[in-house]
């Protein structure tokens, strides 16, 4: 049963992402990606990473996708944008994607992952354990990522704050 669920979710994931990259209307692309993200969140739950799956929904679906939708509406781009696309580029792009997929898969095909998931600690996906990891093992990365956010924030301000001169 759970195995079937995995394959269903995977299929949804793949199909929606394919639809996402091919759809002309950006708004729909965002929505397809949203579906994809939800199914990824479902996969997280199946992997017993409940905390991450919630964070994933909050961050991606709740924040990032909303940001996208907001920008699309803000720029009034909900109508399909006519973008000239040569067939050649399409073919090349699809071919490249397929090649990368093929190369990576063949590289990994022979790998014996060798892990017998018999002994699985169900708690590793819990907030308490992850929290300890984040604030102990990963304290330094956690701290320095504040710099990352700070610079992203400054960047957004620089880009879109109105000049004095504009007024």
């Amino acid at each position: 049963m759970t195995a079937i669920l995995f394959y269903i979710l995977s299929a949804v994931c793949i199909i929606s992402s394919i639809l996402m990259i091919f759809h002309k209307n950006a708004m729909y692309s965002v929505l397809y990606l949203l579906i994809c993200f939800f199914s990824v969140a479902g996969l997280f739950v199946m992997l017993n990473a409940q905390f991450l799956s919630i964070v994933h929904v909050i961050v991606y679906a709740g924040a990032i996708m909303v940001l996208f939708l907001y920008v699309i509406m803000f720029l009034n781009m909900s109508t399909p944008v006519t973008i000239r696309k040569s067939k050649l580029i399409m073919v090349i792009a699809c071919f490249t994607g397929a090649m990368v997929c093929f190369v990576l898969t063949t590289a990994l095909w022979a790998t014996d992952f060798g892990s017998d998931p018999a002994i699985v600690d169900q708690n590793i996906g819990m907030a308490s354990i992850l929290g300890k990891y984040l604030f102990k093992e990963f304290l330094i990365p956690f701290e320095v990522s504040s710099i990352l956010f700070l610079s992203a924030m400054v960047g957004v301000v620089i880009f879109n704050k109105k000049d004095y001169k504009d007024e």
């Binding site: 790998t111 990963f138 304290l139 320095v144 610079s151 992203a152 960047g155 620089i158 000049d163």
Partner: protein
């Protein structure tokens, strides 16, 4: 670690000085902080943070030397920025803060000991740069540069992430030491190989080496000149440091494979960078391509000397950086006062602007590798390491490309000493004059006393 904290505080201070309308404080504060940081690094006061570091970062000699060079070059970039950004630019202090944050990223990158830090360091280094590249809001070229840089950077990040995750998948850890132990016990797996190749690809992206070089000239051309100087100097030092660390870590395993891959990359980069640069008419673009060729050069040292090459690489990059900051400074002065940005346009610079012309000539001759300028020893060390490792053919290719590259620099110098006097007297302040003289002195001094400089770096 102390350095990182100091720099982070400085960056935030710079932002606040903008908010409280005390812009003039930002630059002196940053410069003082940099000098303090240099002192801290030189005297080994890096602080004992082992209990919280968890082997995420390591401040060994390599990290300290690379950090020293990063900060040292950054001082020049900041002094240069003073002549590039006019005082009334709105977000000046924010831009400064972004530079500082990016430098922090660079320092994280050269001292990473955990793949998470490699990833975060790359991002902290890059994200401010995307912003800075597009910071000239009204200028479409700058917008495009920022966008391209952003897209390519994010794209490379995806590869980096996939690579890191695959390595994690192979040995169940992000820690270099753990992976090293696992490698020794479990042997190499194809998962690991794929991961390493992907990470190397993203390094090649960041270094703008062939075959992932195509974004570089546009970004270099469109971005504000200070940023161009920053990207072609500090960023390269940081990424080279990270690459050196990474190569040292994987070096013992399947060394031939990496060597062949990197030989191809380095040879292709040298050849491509040099040949394309011959065709360039725009000064900034030419510098971009020549920087690319130099990256190919430096890769030779990584290949042939392995871990021992840090001194060579640092010497080369420092010499290259000072010369290119000098060239960029002079270029931006000419550009801002006359609007000229082509190579032909600078013809006759020597007639009315002796100092600028001298500076440009010195930097060009240093690029061309003429003794006893610093650039010569930069090239010499690389050729030396290639010859010593027995890869004489690499040295020969390096020489052939550097002769072709010399053509470019000679071409520029020929224009500079031309007889026509189309360029009027450019206004330069005394401080600017001192800066140029300092750069020239460093280039010549680095060539006359390479031992002293090299001793500092080794």
């Amino acid at each position: 670690m102390n350095t990182i904290i100091l720099l982070a505080v400085t960056g935030i201070f710079s932002m606040f000085s903008g908010i409280f309308r005390q812009k003039q404080l930002a630059l002196p504060a940053i410069l003082i902080a940099f000098i303090l940081a240099l002192g801290m690094l030189t005297f080994g006061w890096i602080g004992n943070y082992d209990d919280i570091l968890n082997n995420m970062l390591i401040f060994d000699n390599l990290a300290i030397n690379f950090s020293l060079v990063i900060i040292f070059i950054s001082i020049f970039i900041f002094i240069m920025s003073q002549y590039y950004y006019s005082d009334d630019i709105e977000h000046l202090t924010d831009l400064f803060a972004l530079f500082v944050f990016s430098i922090i990223g660079g320092i994280l990158l050269v001292s990473f000991q955990n793949l998470t830090m490699l990833f975060l360091g790359t991002e902290i280094l890059s994200i401010p740069l995307y912003i800075l590249a597009a910071s000239n809001r009204r200028n479409l070229a700058s917008n495009e540069a920022g966008l391209k840089y952003y897209l390519m950077g994010s794209f490379a990040t995806c590869f980096l992430l996939l690579g890191i995750t695959l390595i994690y998948g192979a040995y169940g850890s992000f820690d270099l030491t753990d992976i090293h132990t696992a490698l020794a016990t479990q042997g190499i797996s194809s998962l690991f190989l794929t991961g390493v190749v992907l990470i190397l690809c993203s390094f090649i992206f960041k270094l703008s080496a062939v075959p992932f070089h195509f974004w570089a000239p546009d970004v270099y051309h469109g971005a504000p000149t200070v940023l161009t100087a920053f990207v072609s100097t500090v960023v390269k030092v940081a990424v080279m440091g990270a690459l050196l660390r990474f190569m040292a870590f994987i070096g013992n395993y399947n060394s031939e494979k990496w060597v062949i891959l990197f030989m191809l990359v380095s040879v292709a980069t040298m050849i491509f960078g040099t040949i394309v640069s011959i065709k360039q008419k725009n000064f900034k673009r030419l510098l971009a391509y020549s920087g690319m060729a130099n990256v190919g050069f430096v890769l030779i040292a990584i290949l042939t000397a392995g871990e021992g090459s840090s001194g060579y690489i640092l010497y080369n990059l420092t010499a290259y950086s000072i010369a290119s900051i000098l060239a960029f400074t002079i270029y931006s002065t000419i550009k801002s006062q006359t609007g000229i940005d082509t190579i032909k346009g600078i013809s006759g610079l020597v007639t009315h602007n002796k100092l600028l012309a001298t500076g440009l000539l010195v930097s060009m001759l240093s690029f061309a590798g003429i003794p006893p300028l610093a650039g010569f020893f930069g090239k010499y060390f690389i050729i030396f390491s290639a010859v010593k490792a027995g890869d004489t053919w690499l040295a020969v290719i390096a020489i052939l490309t550097s002769v072709v590259a010399a053509y470019n620099y000679l071409r520029i110098s020929a224009y500079v000493v031309n007889d026509n006097n189309s360029i009027p007297v450019l206004k330069i302040t005394t401080r600017y004059r001192i800066f140029i003289i300092l750069c020239i002195a460093l280039i010549i001094g680095g060539g006359i006393l390479p031992d002293q400089l090299f001793g500092l770096l080794h």
